[in-house]
């Protein structure tokens, strides 16, 4: 491969302002490109830059914000910047984890969109040298009353299940929220966690002049190529071949690729490996070169393709799934090939690491693209556009929600409780997660349905606790507080499972950053997230940003989803959220307040999204987690469940009937809170609270006191088949069967109605 001057390919379209615009580059960005090259770009170069400088690859609107996040702690082995973050978990073991969004593909083709989202995040984790041991997902849809939303929901769930189940990685947890804010723009975030030995960690850094670059895995087709320049043409038969195509996942090939990649990494024959994800070959090769500060040359004619006649433009930008790019040690090519062959996969040398500081793409003898140094990655512009809060949202927040009159039905608080439990956002998600294999690998101690999942680390007495959390309504009403709560809630959830929170990954799902009100949300949410992570000592090891989540009705709720990893240092400390038996004392850690703003109660019962979200005291959350940990490790906690959506009574009801086969009754005495409005005590979402069942209430109260955490006995578990509540001078009861039916049947009942791609049915 000898260098010659870059030449346009015969037949390539001329570079015109219109073509540049179709590739999503602003005139300023185009000028920057021309300055970088010192000449007019070729069509191939334009395509490459358009992908590399896209929001998705370049983080141009979020990078300055992300830099403010805390990323360090003694246990962090790899922070942001790699395919996944990595933390040490003791015994020389480490876990790699990351979350990633597939929102836009899932809006178009939910099954494949979700499936390939899972595939992508699995690859991000196993390219670190880690064996994936758990998957989670965080999903948002519009109301299930619409047949299209049911179709989206059903197919996203099926896509997630079919992919993870086939690869054989248990899906152990997640969250699903239904809200009209996500109509037309569902969110599909997938998180993967993998296990490795610290000495097996490998980074995607190209090194070693003369080392071969090898394409591995599936063949390259015309999938997902950003067909910007064709978007304005009719979809006639002639250009059918060129239109952007849905990426189809092949979990079977992924499983083979996973095994082959881990074998390759352990073999010592390679120096780096990276998946070909967004912007495929282009971004994987350019990023590896940039991290290593070396040059690379690639010949697109060497790439194994699925269909004839692919141009360099197409080969570089294809997003065909289940492919990897490997930098091997020179002379070890046949060893690499042998490993791939064992797994019935392809490996073709397509380029090499070169001393010359350029990123060069050849088509046989012709140079079709060439960029100086690492400019393709490092020279991308970043933007900090104007930010300003939407006055309309500020007004909503300032509304006095205490003044909202009660509905007549609320005279029966049991009605309100049942209605909240039957809200799809609160109701049991078993309809979805029983389609996910949660027990493969035989290490799942706590699967979906509890506060956090717990997965045993084989060969140790330890486990990791995992969860994903975000209440987008809070973030909408007050981004900084909402993001703090997302982190605090995630930390509380893993703490309830018996773990110490260790680190987070995050997925920033926002609307169009060029709108000042959206950029304000982004800036404030990142600020709040960083603050919470600092106080809770859970650094950010990576994440993903998904912007432009908008439908004609407007932007989604700003949704900075937090994926938390905690460490359980003794399997005996693993704790579940449901009441295990009658005869325990129920202790509330934390305190009630008169807050109702942003609550599920206002949303569901009054159709109102208003008020300030609950205050969060981060130092108090830290103390709460400390107290909980102390009580759990001292063996004093029979169950622990954090109070979140729906408030105290919903939390207690979930403890009673979360396990439908083994319901446990309870009696609550809430008179101590009678100074507060009844509905705020029952359904307000004050932060920093955990419902604990214990056989040693005095010891739990003492532990709480020692940690400076308010705590109070609020009742006991019973063998009665009801939840009985005394407050404001009256005693009311609601049967467990009625609660269980509300909670467990809500989603299955809705999903018996037809689901279609069309909006009306």
């Amino acid at each position: 491969m000898t260098a010659t001057a870059v030449q346009p390919r015969p037949g390539d379209p001329a570079i015109t302002p219109a073509l540049v615009a179709e590739h999503g580059l602003t005139p300023d960005e185009y000028d920057r490109l021309v300055a970088m090259l010192g000449r007019t770009p070729t069509f191939t170069e334009l395509g490459v830059v358009s992908a590399m400088w896209s929001e998705h690859c370049s983080y141009k609107h979020s990078r300055p914000q992300l830099r403010t996040l805390p990323t360090e702690a003694p246990w962090v082995l790899q922070g942001p910047g790699e395919n996944a973050g990595v933390i040490a978990v003791g015994d020389g073991l480490a876990v790699a984890f990351k979350i990633e969004s597939h929102n836009h593909p899932s809006a178009v083709e939910p099954y494949q969109g979700a499936a390939t989202g899972v595939g992508g995040i699995l690859r991000d984790v196993f390219t670190m040298g880690a064996r994936p041991i758990a998957l989670l997902n965080s999903l948002r849809f519009g109301s299930l009353d619409s047949p299209r939303n049911r179709w989206l929901f059903a197919n996203v769930v099926k896509g997630i299940g079919d992919y993870g189940n086939c690869v054989g990685v248990p899906t152990v947890g997640g969250e699903i929220v239904f809200d009209p804010a996500y109509d037309g723009n569902p969110l599909v975030n997938a998180m993967c966690v993998g296990l490795l030995r610290e000495d097996e960690l490998i980074r995607a850094v190209a090194q070693g002049v003369g080392n071969p670059i090898i394409a591995v895995g599936a063949r390259t087709g015309r999938d997902g190529i950003h067909g910007a320049s064709f978007a304005s043409e009719d979809l006639s038969d002639e250009n059918e071949a060129k239109r952007p195509r849905v990426q189809v996942g092949d979990p079977f090939t992924e499983k083979l690729l996973l095994e082959a990649s881990l074998e390759l990494i352990r073999s010592g024959h390679i120096v780096a490996i990276q998946d070909m994800g967004a912007a495929g070959l282009t971004s994987s090769s350019a990023e590896m070169a940039s991290r290593g500060d070396v040059g690379v040359v690639i010949d697109t004619t060497k790439v194994p393709v699925r269909e004839p006649g692919m141009t360099p433009y197409e080969t570089l930008l294809s997003e065909s799934q289940e492919r990897m790019l490997v930098v091997a040690k020179r002379g070890h090519e046949s060893d690499v090939r042998a490993i791939l062959e064992k797994w019935d996969l392809l490996a073709e040398v397509i380029g090499e690491v070169i001393a010359e500081p350029v990123y060069r793409v050849m088509e046989g003898d012709r140079v079709v693209a060439e960029f100086p140094g690492t400019a393709l990655v490092t020279n991308c512009p970043t933007y900090t556009p104007p930010a300003a809060e939407s006055p309309a949202i500020a007004a909503l927040r300032q509304r006095d929600v205490h003044a909202v009159p009660e509905r007549p039905e609320e005279a029966d608080p049991a009605w309100t409780l049942r209605t909240l439990l039957a809200t799809p956002t609160i109701a049991s998600k078993a309809w979805a997660y029983r389609q996910y294999d949660s027990t493969v690998r035989a290490s799942t101690m706590v699967g979906p349905g509890s506060d956090a999942a717990v997965v045993r680390l084989p060969g140790t007495t330890r486990a990791i606790a995992l969860c994903v959390d975000c209440n987008g309504r809070y973030v909408y009403l007050e981004p900084r507080t909402g993001a703090q709560i997302a982190v605090a809630e995630a930390a509380r959830n893993v703490a309830c499972s018996g773990a110490v929170p260790k680190a987070i990954t995050n997925n920033l799902n926002f609307g169009n950053p060029k709108k000042p009100e959206t950029f304000h949300q982004l800036v404030e949410a990142v600020r709040g997230m960083g603050e919470a992570c600092r106080v809770l000592e859970t650094p950010v090891t990576g994440g993903n940003v998904s912007l432009y989540n908008e439908s004609p009705a407007g932007a989604v709720y700003p949704t900075p989803t937090v994926g938390m990893v905690g460490l359980v240092d003794d399997l005996a400390h693993v704790t579940r959220s449901t009441f295990p038996a009658a005869g325990h004392t129920i202790v509330l850690l934390g305190d009630c307040t008169d807050e109702l703003g942003g609550s599920e109660y206002l949303n569901t019962i009054h159709g109102l999204v208003a008020g300030a979200p609950p205050r969060v005291d981060l130092a108090g959350e830290k103390r709460l987690i400390g107290a909980l940990h102390a009580a759990i490790t001292a063996g004093r906690v029979a169950s622990a469940h954090d109070v979140s959506d729906g408030g105290l009574l919903v939390a207690v009801a979930e403890c009673c009937i979360g396990d439908r086969e083994r319901p446990v009754g309870a009696e609550l005495e809430l008179g101590a809170f009678d100074a507060l409005p009844a509905r705020a005590v029952r359904f307000g979402e004050a932060q920093g609270r955990v419902v604990v069942a214990t056989a040693q209430p005095d010891a739990v109260l003492e532990t709480a006191r020692a940690h400076g955490v308010p705590a109070r006995v609020i009742g006991r578990t019973t063998s009665d088949d009801a939840l009985v509540i005394s407050d404001h001078g009256r005693t009311w009861r609601v049967g467990l069967a009625a609660l269980a039916d509300a909670f467990h049947d809500a989603i299955p009942t809705r999903m018996t109605r037809p689901a279609t791609a069309g909006a009306e049915a």
């Binding site: 099926k158 299940g161 079919d162 189940n165 086939c166 690869v167 054989g168 092949d250 979990p251 079977f252 090939t253 499983k255 083979l256 797994w343 019935d344 997660y433 029983r434 389609q435 996910y436 294999d437 949660s438 027990t439 493969v440 690998r441 035989a442 290490s443 799942t444 101690m445 045993r456 399997l571 693993v574 086969e661």
Partner: protein
């Protein structure tokens, strides 16, 4: 005593099966699908997973893997073989067991812990259980609806070759409510006429430790170990 665990492309419970074999003190031997030799294994496990992606039909392609020629010969000589989940599907496709495993009647994958009743303790695999014992064992499959013609079903029932049946947690039968996949006669596991080949949809290798929810799978592997080392 050596137990061979076959890895097909797409097997994903092979590690778990290896761990289960080791847990009862036997020596696990990994067998590669392209191999032509069972490496002296005294028993064989065909593990769960998605061999060949379950493309075409679950188990249909794996049934022709080179190693299967040896497994079939081994089974025909009376060697003990357990097929779990995808392994059961492969055994049916290979006609070592009668019938077929079709798409769950819900048309959805089902992952949950089910109650299974031990219908016979007269097999080497179930000798360690009490007659009628109710086990809690995880299932995780999309194609578990056991289907066979009337004659086959009558023979299975008549010969006492239905080994595990889906039941209510209290052990009583309620096929419509207790069967997670629409299996005929609520069948979860069967043996062949000679009694040396067991196929079952549930995953006993995921039920070896009460800390993970159930240790009810352990006696099955102990039973296998006992008969072979006897």
């Amino acid at each position: 005593m050596k137990v061979g665990v076959v890895t097909f492309p797409g097997s994903n419970c092979d590690d778990d099966a290896v761990a289960a074999v080791a847990a009862v003190g036997a020596v696990p031997v990994r067998l590669w699908h392209k191999a032509h030799d069972l490496q002296g294994a005294d028993a064989i496990v065909l593990p769960g997973g998605f061999s060949y992606g379950d493309y075409l039909r679950a188990g249909a392609i794996a049934r022709f893997a080179p190693i299967m020629r040896e497994v079939i010969a081994f089974a025909e000589r009376g060697g003990p073989v357990i097929g779990i989940c995808n392994g059961f599907q492969i055994l049916c496709e290979a006609q070592l067991l009668p019938g077929a495993l079709l798409r769950n009647d819900s048309l959805q994958f089902r992952s949950e812990t089910v109650a299974l009743r031990v219908e016979t303790t007269a097999t080497r695999f179930t000798a360690r259980y009490a007659p009628g014992q109710v086990l809690r064992i995880p299932i995780a499959h999309g194609d578990g609806r056991y289907t066979a013609d009337a004659g086959t079903l009558a023979a299975l029932e008549g010969d006492g070759r239905v080994v595990f049946r889906y039941v209510r947690p209290d052990g009583t039968r309620d096929d419509a409510a207790a069967t997670p996949n629409g299996a005929m006669h609520a069948i979860a596991g069967i043996v062949n006429t000679a009694g040396n080949v067991l196929g079952m949809m549930p995953h006993p290798e995921r039920a070896l430790d009460a800390a993970l929810g159930s240790a009810d799978g352990l006696p099955l592997f102990e039973g296998l170990f006992a008969t072979v080392s006897a």
